[in-house]
Symmetry: C2
């Protein structure tokens, strides 16, 4: 066989997938994935919409179509997802993508030559790390605190590395659950303009808020077209539909369209149309009202169990929404602990080390997901994990 591209050397598969091969047979309670609850999907509404769409415009929706996307979806996103959040974008600035993950890939391919710098939060979403690595970029981590990245650090690193992109998840961040404060968002928009950096604002969780006040997106403070906002239907409606949307500078979207022509050419029009109809029929508010309380209960069950059972030295985040809680446990190597966790305690999580761009990533963090696990399994699973962590700490001391 011919040799693979040199540019892919060192690129391995998703750490999550590899980790889960570690899962022993048997009844493991998994806090490891990032899946929404299957019970959150509006199955019968999707079925009805699909029926009507195929009845009314089946041939159109089964045909090739413009790479630029299904016009009613762009209109519905603008009306229902952007304007209410202070983002006013013409159609030429809205591009449906095959999930937000495709948008990240297209942006990287549009901007990155090997060696270009990309700033990311520390920690950040491991899927984005993989996509950015594949593009050949040099990843640079921006430190943060409980309110997200530190703007002064961001400015320093922008000045130092002159990056093309800053990738961030401002709301209920994956993996930390943190939300970037309003003042920092405004400052980030200003810094993007000052240092000529495109901010990739990946915001798939914003609608999953269980308490506290909504915060306007960075994009709403973007005076000079330096922010690309990514939204998705994956967490609110269905990830299997693979419908996301990128909202940003028209020039950048044109380049992304050219690249998308050479990838999948179009996001399946039927899937785009289901998302569009769901929004246009005004079904999203009731959908969110249905799923938020259930997720809030799971989050609270998780926080209570952590507080009750985890070692005293552990620090956890206090997410107001999203799908994840982040734990720091000084003295514990969470990667080394995982085999015992899955095989002895019958609990899975993601070791935090996978969410860092830096080579010397801290080993004492872990991510817990509460959306993919039945609420009744949360307290006992976390009690087992907490006891294992205490045991491991006692061994080590």
């Amino acid at each position: 066989m011919p040799q693979f591209a040199k540019s892919l050397e060192g690129i391995t598969g998703s750490a999550i997938r590899d980790l889960f091969k570690l899962l022993c047979a048997g009844d493991v309670t998994s806090f490891g994935g990032g899946n929404p609850s299957a019970s959150s999907f509006p199955v019968s509404q999707i079925k009805n919409i699909l029926d009507e769409l195929i009845e009314e415009k089946g041939p159109e929706l089964l045909q090739y179509a413009a790479t630029e996307g299904y016009a009613p979806l762009r209109a519905a996103v603008s009306e229902h997802m952007l304007k209410p959040r202070g983002v006013f974008a013409p159609d030429s600035c809205i591009l449906p993508t095959t999930g937000s993950s495709q948008a990240i890939d297209l942006i990287c391919r549009a901007y990155i030559d090997p060696g270009d710098a990309v700033l990311v939060e520390s920690p950040t979403f491991l899927g984005a790390l993989q996509t950015i690595r594949i593009s050949g970029a040099k990843l640079v981590s921006v430190p943060g605190d409980a309110e997200g990245v530190l703007p002064d650090e961001l400015e320093r690193l922008m000045a130092l590395h002159r990056p093309k992109l800053f990738y961030c998840i401002p709301t209920f961040q994956n993996p930390s659950g943190r939300t970037l404060g309003l003042a920092r968002r405004k400052r980030i928009a200003e810094l993007a303009q000052a240092y000529d950096v495109l901010v990739v604002e990946d915001d798939p969780y914003y609608a999953l808020r269980y308490r506290g006040e909504e915060v306007a997106p960075i994009k709403s403070f973007d005076a000079d077209d330096h922010v690309m906002l990514l939204n998705s239907f994956s967490k609110t409606m269905s990830p299997g539909m693979r419908v996301g949307v990128a909202v940003g500078p028209a020039d950048a979207l044109r380049k992304m369209v050219i690249l998308k022509q050479g990838c999948d050419a179009i996001t399946p029009p039927l899937m785009q149309a289901v998302a569009a109809e769901f929004l246009a029929r005004g079904l999203m508010p009731a959908q969110l009202a249905r799923i938020r309380p259930e997720y809030a209960r799971r989050l609270d069950a998780m926080l209570d169990a952590i507080d009750a059972h985890f070692p005293a030295a552990c620090v956890r985040t206090k997410p107001e929404g999203g799908l994840f809680v982040w734990i720091e446990c000084p003295g514990l190597d969470t990667l080394a602990l995982l085999p015992r966790a899955t095989c002895e305690a019958k609990v899975a999580y993601i070791p935090g080390v996978h969410f860092y761009a830096e080579a010397d990533a801290p080993r004492h963090t872990l991510r817990l997901n509460f959306s993919g696990c039945p609420i009744e399994d949360i307290p006992a699973g976390l009690e087992r994990l907490g006891n294992l962590m205490k045991d491991e700490l006692a061994r080590g001391s």
Copy 2:
């Protein structure tokens, strides 16, 4: 705004899309696209299958899933599309993709470093040319005749350029309509092994045969895992579903899975499942029996009209299937003629120049599509085009 990637310099949008901006307002008969006829889509069967799938396993099909693809689709493809053609592949050698175009992109990204050589037929599919160009490859054209590429030329160019890939469309080629003969297919499989080249056998049209004998795919002669066969549901069922499938070496597919994790992560499971059910229920033979005669009539109408109305100097191919006829018209610049064709003769086609990798591409060829145009419009449209071509030739002489 930050600068776009240098690697994309010179990469422009799809020539087809740009060309169609030339279309004057009014009633233009288009032989320019490559769309299947919307009347060919099995709309009500797709509707019924979707209904049942969502009823029976909606939550599963709306959830995240393995990047490796929906297992029943891989099984159905093996049973109904591969085994009958002499291709025996385990599941680990079958990867569903978001259209075949995604497969081409993933293969290029898996293998190509900038400057690596890729051999292509001359002419070849312009979408593939764009995708391969984006990868940074050096494109090298392999000359052919009425039976496809010339194996001795292929061998010479393999020895000279040591390419990683040879991309070809063996059956009812886009744009030429030609079919590669059996002996040449065997020879190509041997050359791939001898020169350690991966043959990318893009075969979306094979089932659209209207006359003549079926020819086994190159993959069926692949003794040593040097052929990646791409098939698609786009021409036989629905392009909007975006379901294709790559069949090839397990190592290569594993690399493509890693890359796909960083693009769209999964091909929408609902779309994969519809394709799987359509095959598993045995609906494809009747579907093909329904659409082939209609396409055959359109092809014959096109060939008759070309023979009746085009200039005597024109040479056309004699396709036994597929969607395209290819014309060579010595003395005519088909790119320069296009504005007159669309505005005066009210007929669109694709100038052949866009289908060549070489810089000094011939200017006297054009591609005609017969699937996207009602049969009753074919004779009159081609008469107008033929008259225009004669007029243009008379002007030039």
